[in-house]
Amino acid sequence: MTVSDLLKNENFSSVTLPDGDRVIKDVYIGDLLSWVMGRAKSDDAWITIMSNVNILAVASLADTACIILAEGVTVDESIKATAIDKEINIISTNLSIYEAAVILNGMI
């Protein structure tokens, strides 16, 4: 499944989508950045409620397919601009982390 495919589910919407063809192979959940850095795999969809600018470097360097902001968490405009510049997909959902993961599990 690609990141664009995920957006066909009505619960998920695009915040930034510079690389929608990126394939999601698995899922990682976490808010502690060093855990994510050390444990997330390449091509994972990363579900988090952390929304400060540092998530962009983590997503870029850990090479995740997208960041999924759960629980209705939002990011400000400057973060969106940086994400597009760094080609990082950000998806948002009002679902809980658990509910988002359950849906992803059925789609991957």
Binding site: L32, N52, V53
Partner: protein
């Protein structure tokens, strides 16, 4: 490629919004050099954790990266407070990060363990009150 390719970065200790910049730049350069993605990931993760530590714990520093035929070497040097007990600092979960820093998602005490795990060689040279120099290598061949 007989001569080592070198990159130098000043890591700003006051700017959280650009933290990780040097690591992102190195990743870009290694991609252009055509290194294997798994090696690039190793370098990226190890360097990022070291770079962030300089920002959070040492007020910034300098990063020097050299790429040879055999390995990528990352040297991170700061004039921060130093690490009193390196063995303790290396343990998963040990952190002296403040509440403020933790609210940003740092302070899990996983940075140094990640650096160890994702590098093939790591050496910490630290003196309290003087600073810390960390050398890491990721083998390419």
């Amino acid at each position: 490629m007989s001569e080592a390719l070198k990159f130098h970065f000043d890591v700003d200790g006051n700017d959280f919004t650009s933290a990780g910049h040097a690591s992102v730049m190195v990743k870009k350069n290694l991609r252009q050099l055509g290194l294997p993605p798994e090696k690039i990931r190793q370098v990226s993760i190890a360097m990022y954790e070291g770079e962030i530590n300089m920002v959070i714990h040492a007020g910034g520093g300098v990063a020097d990266v050299s790429v040879t035929e055999d390995y990528v070497e990352i040297v991170l040097k700061d004039n921060g407070p130093g690490i009193k007990d390196i063995e303790q600092a290396m343990q998963e979960g040990f952190s002296t990060a403040t509440e403020n820093i933790r609210s940003l998602g740092f302070g899990a005490g996983m940075g140094l363990p990640n650096m160890k795990r994702y590098s093939d060689f790591m050496e910490i040279d630290s003196t309290v009150g003087v600073g810390t120099t960390i050398t890491m290598r990721v083998n390419i061949n």
